[in-house]
């Protein structure tokens, strides 16, 4: 049952995101209006925690649970795709107040209209895959 650990990580993730209200459409709107520090605090602390963790991992060449040295792959170099992809994503994120993780979490929480968001997100991913070679990266 090696997958249990992933389920537990997901469970914790789902609970924290819901209790911190990072999945809340209201909180995303409030964030983009700069009317609360809350969301910036969450992202900032997560980033900071990750930063320290990853720097320790690299400095001490720490090993993962299977004994292999942890290597975190760099993101592909580029510019246009990050700016423009980011822009499209941001428009959607603000419009429906959710990004991929929260989409699943909100469905679990009982917000069934989010299923429409999910289906449409899958469609968006599909269309990207089909058009990819014709898009500037």
């Amino acid at each position: 049952m090696k997958f249990i650990k992933y389920f537990i990580v997901g469970l914790v993730f789902g609970i924290v995101l819901t209790k911190s209200e990072a999945v809340s459409w209201y909180r995303i709107y409030e964030m983009f209006q700069f009317q609360s520090f809350h969301m910036y605090g969450i992202i900032g602390v997560a980033f900071f925690t990750g930063l320290i963790g990853i720097q320790l991992i690299k400095k001490y060449k720490l090993k993962d649970f299977s004994g292999q040295t942890i290597i975190i792959i760099d993101k592909e170099k580029g510019s246009f795709r990050y700016w423009v992809g980011g822009l499209f994503f941001g428009l959607g994120w603000a419009l429906v107040g959710a990004c991929p993780g929260p989409i699943f979490i909100l469905i679990g929480a009982g917000f069934y209209p989010v299923i429409l968001i999910l289906i449409s997100a899958l469609l968006g991913t599909f269309i990207y895959g089909v058009l990819k070679d014709h898009l500037p990266h």
Binding site: Y6, F7, V9, G10, L11, F13, G14, V16, K19, S20, E21, V23, W25, R27, Y29, F32, S36, H38, Y40, G41, I42, V45, A46, F47, T49, G53, I54, I70, I72, K75, E76, R81, V84, G85, F88, F89, G90, G92, W93, V96, C99, G101, I103, F104, I105, L106, I107, G108, A109, F111, Y112, P113, I117, A121, G124, T125, F126, Y128, G129, V130
Partner: protein
Amino acid sequence: MEFIYQTWTWYYSGFIIGLVMLSLIYFGKTFGMSSNLRTLCSMAGAEQFADFFKFDYKSQFWNLIVILGAMFGGFIAVHYLGDASNVDLNPKTITELSHLGFDTPNGKLAPDAMFANTVFQSPKMILILIVGGFLIGFGSRYAGGCTSGHAIQGLSNLQLPSLKAVIGFFIGGLIMTHFIFPLIF
């Protein structure tokens, strides 16, 4: 134990999210929710339409288990850990939202105007959910990641591409809330 039912603070929540990411790294994986969208497309047969979906999606099974866990997490948090005092927004936000036609939180995570089952009867809201979802699905794959992969893991790993993506996310979000919302709501 009262604090469990209240809104969890940003410093506590952000720290746990950081630990979630580090746990996945410790398990030899990465923190990235949007790749699940690609995996689901591949499982549904999208590889017949584009090479992008031709990959060993069984290797991503662990990530599908993570989101399954996350769905359960959402269920548990809402049904067993909720409180009417939650989603305590800035009063200015509440006022602005009511001018746009959005109901006050009263402890709800999302407005009825967009997320109650009644929206299935509103063509406008259905269109908004579809457009929003499409932008998220298309944009996250184009940018190669979403808030988990770029804003949290990417920035923690000091990746310049992630900084560009995150700035893009923000500009998009600001354009939507400041310029487009007043036009559509």
